[in-house]
């Protein structure tokens, strides 16, 4: 078990959200979209130019930039 940032995950890698380090509206938006502590998350792919990323969370696909994904701490197996 190790902790990494959501932005550092590899395509196909799965994990569990442990913490959101950010503050402000962006953080609240991520929370409301379902990236809360304990939620299962999978990094599906990177966009063709490497950014943003496509993640699977709560059964749906969400895309966000790596910069935003840096606020999310994930525990991977």
């Amino acid at each position: 078990m190790s902790m990494i940032l959501l932005s550092q995950m590899a395509p196909g890698q799965k994990g569990e959200v442990k913490d959101l380090s950010g503050t402000g509206d962006i953080c609240q938006r991520l929370l409301e979209m379902g990236i809360t502590r304990g939620a299962k998350v999978e990094l599906v792919r990177f966009a063709p130019l490497g950014d943003p990323i496509d993640i699977l969370i709560r059964g749906y696909h969400l895309s966000l930039r790596k910069k935003e994904a840096e606020a999310v701490v994930v525990e991977v197996g």
Binding site: T23, E32, P52, R58, S63
Partner: protein, 711 residues
């Protein structure tokens, strides 16, 4: 007819107002269309550029009534399609409108008696989040469990009764795109209880206490009801930035209490930012665990397999460029067929009137003012229709989100959002639909930047101007050379726009890098009906908004070019008209760019629509009824000279003129649309000045620089 029936007919005593709330991509609009058929009207909420869609629900099919009186079939039901939102915590204009309507705070919009929450059954967890927020408001709720077919295909079995019991409200399964469950939903809308249920989700005890304390204070300070106060208390306590929260801004007591409550929660090791959100999701998970069973687990759904190709490093680009190429081929090639047809019909109509009427001012007003004006609007309709058809298709299939996903990195370089891509692309056809399409960008500043730079995408009205000038410079050039110059003009516009975006983001519209948090909805087969409906609605808005401006300006310009009256040939008459005088007046200003007063008249005429340049030049150089043939005008251009005999249209002055057309804001209908979309004159005026100023500068540099270099 007795007095009482008369009264009933005039004032339907029971009108039920129903609001449709739901996430984007939940099929809310399909459901709205299914409930109302085509009995709907589209407008705007006052003061904001959020679309307001209203419709009348058709009566549920049932046992045929013996009397044909529709009043006996139930009350009239008015349905309001709220903007699609993920939350009601108020950050975007869409969320604000949805919340205000639900609370009955929106002027001209009655408070709804019932809220139908449309949820995507295949994506329940996140969709139910909004439902919990709507329920907090204490309104009466019905849940429409839409896209049931998708859920079934994913192997999800949903126990409707359990779900309804846990949510405390009726739940109706529907497949709106295929008209399934609509009759059932109508019956439930008519019979559902008109009161909100109790709140079923709970936060950690300490958080509950703090919310309760804040709720009491809000009730006392602002005199609001208990349910609303609770909902506001949860939002205020969880929200970092309170600058847009009137309940906090208007009361120091509330702000003080907020900071003391947050301090208390932090000491108890409770994260006040996330506690309420986590509690909602925890509750949703617990009820879904009971009500939903996943029978088969298939890892890759069809949509995921499509994405393997369409967001692939190589194939993703191939498809993307293919789609965009097809769209432009349709707009610039296929659309010219109906455009030529429209052009001919209007010309024929003008000829008809010219033959039927005696020469008079009225006749000229009709043919050169009114018909030319209406024709100038209608001629763009084929391009606009095709553009909106494609945008609707891309949106309905879910590819639009992928286009933003693919392009975000590029747009990000200019400080823009992936979603700016479609508005900018649309602007190559016409800036007006492009600016209208910018509504999909949530953040107001990002939206504004997109609107401000959109007219620098070379629109189709510039094409005839580029074409005639290129033909003047290079009479016998190979098509490839011509295309090269044309492409250069497009690129100049694009680079200018990106540079302006960077500059704007660093100065007047300084803001944090735009947030890109966007759902990638599953691919869906588009419904032809809904795509065509969207296409029609938006095109109608274009005709209405831009059409009236273009038409009015055409008449004004006609008057400027016709008065004061002067006998003699048309060229002489124009020379002595107001427009001719204006051309002479601005000649000293435009001379450094290489243009004389005759070109000046063309520039003035272009303010109605740029392509008017060509027809104005036809009058200026006294080309009679040349029709579509450009040869006579080209000939005149080559012979045109300054008083001292130097040729007027040198390669350098043509280039300078083209550059001027790339950058100048010569489109008053765009100014009018920007005024509408930004709710004021500040931004359109700024845009008019910075664009035209830069156009002057760029054309000056081209002409004077070229001369210095010896061209």
């Amino acid at each position: 007819m007795t007095d009482s029936t008369l009264l009933q007919a005039e004032f339907p005593t029971r009108t039920l107002t129903v609001a449709l709330a739901g996430n984007p991509n939940s099929g809310k609009t399909s459901l709205f269309n299914a409930l109302t058929k085509l009995r709907q009207k589209v407008g705007n909420y006052p003061g904001v550029t959020v679309e307001k869609k209203e419709g009348k629900m058709t009566a549920p099919a049932g046992p045929r009534q013996l009397s044909g009186d529709s009043q006996t079939e139930g009350p009239e039901v008015s349905i309001l399609d709220l903007p699609g939102t993920y939350s009601l915590a108020v950050r975007s204009p869409d969320e604000q409108v949805a919340r205000d309507v639900l609370l009955g705070l929106m002027p001209d919009t009655p408070k709804s008696d019932l809220v139908v929450c449309v949820v995507d059954a295949s994506n329940l967890e996140r969709n139910l989040y909004l439902v919990t927020q709507v329920q907090d408001l204490g309104v009466s709720v019905v849940v429409a469990l839409n896209m049931m077919d998708m859920a079934e295909r994913q192997g999800k079995e949903i126990d409707l009764e359990k779900l309804s019991r846990s949510l405390g409200c009726p739940v109706v399964p529907t497949v709106a795109s295929r008209n399934k469950g609509i009759e059932e939903l109508k019956k439930v809308i008519l019979s559902a209880p008109r009161r909100g249920g109790e709140r079923a989700w709970h936060m950690p005890p300490a958080m509950e206490e703090c919310v309760a304390e804040l709720r009491q204070l809000l009730m006392k300070e602002h005199g609001i009801g208990g349910r609303l106060a609770f909902s506001e208390a949860v939002i205020l306590l969880s929200k970092e930035d309170l600058s847009n929260e009137p309940l906090a801004q208007g009361s120091p007591a509330v702000r003080e209490r907020l900071s003391s409550l947050r301090g208390r929660l932090t000491q108890l090791n409770i994260n006040w930012r996330s506690a309420a959100i986590e509690a909602r999701y925890a509750w949703i998970q617990s009820i879904l665990k009971e009500a939903v069973h996943q029978s088969v687990t298939r890892r890759l759904f069809l949509s995921d397999r499509i994405d393997l190709v369409l967001t692939h490093k190589v194939w993703g680009w191939v498809f993307f460029l293919g789609v965009m190429g097809l769209m432009f081929f349709m707009i610039f090639s296929v659309a010219t067929i109906p455009m030529d047809w429209i052009d001919n019909k209007f010309a024929a109509l003008a000829d008809l009137i010219k033959e039927a009427m005696e020469p008079s001012d009225l006749r000229d007003l009709l043919t050169d003012g009114v018909i030319a004006g209406v024709g100038g609007v209608v001629i763009f309709l084929p391009q606009i229709l095709i553009l909106f058809f494609f945008i609707g298709l891309l949106q309905d299939t879910g590819y639009m989100a992928r286009a933003a996903f693919i392009m975000d990195r590029v747009m990000n370089k200019a400080g823009l959002h992936g979603k700016s891509f479609i508005p900018l692309l649309s602007s190559f056809a016409c800036a007006i639909p492009g600016i209208m399409a910018a509504r999909s960008i949530e953040h107001p500043k990002d939206r504004l930047v997109t609107i401000l730079i959109a007219p620098w995408m070379s629109c189709s009205a510039r094409l005839p101007v580029y074409a005639i000038l290129i033909a003047t410079i290079l009479p016998a050039a190979a098509p490839l050379q011509k295309a090269g110059i044309m492409l250069t003009m497009y690129l100049l516009g694009i680079f200018g726009a990106f540079a302006a975006a960077v500059l704007l983001k660093k100065t007047v519209l300084r803001s944090a890098t735009p947030v890109f948090i966007m759902e990638l909805p599953p691919y869906r087969l588009p419904s032809v009906k809904s795509v065509l409906l969207q296409m029609w609605e938006r095109s109608f808005l274009f005709l209405q908004k831009a059409g009236t401006v273009i038409f009015g300006l055409s008449v004004v310009l006609w008057a400027l070019m016709s008065y004061p009256k002067h006998s003699g040939d048309p060229t002489e008459a124009l020379n002595h008209s107001f427009a001719g005088m204006a051309g002479h007046v601005i000649e000293p200003i435009i001379k450094p760019l290489g243009y004389d007063w005759r070109v000046g008249i063309g520039l003035i005429g272009s303010f109605a629509a740029r392509e008017v340049f060509v027809s104005t030049m036809n009058i200026v150089f006294n080309i009679g009824n040349a029709g579509d043939a450009t040869e006579p005008l080209l000939d005149a251009f080559r012979k045109a000279a300054w008083p001292d005999g130097r040729p007027l249209f040198t390669p350098l002055s043509c280039l300078s003129l083209m550059v001027f057309y790339v950058y100048a804001m010569q489109c008053l209908s765009t100014v009018a649309v920007v005024r509408r979309e930004t709710n004021g004159w500040k931004w359109p005026l700024l845009q008019l000045f910075y664009m035209t100023g830069f156009a002057y500068f760029a054309a000056f540099v081209v002409y004077q620089g070229g001369k210095l270099l010896g061209f």
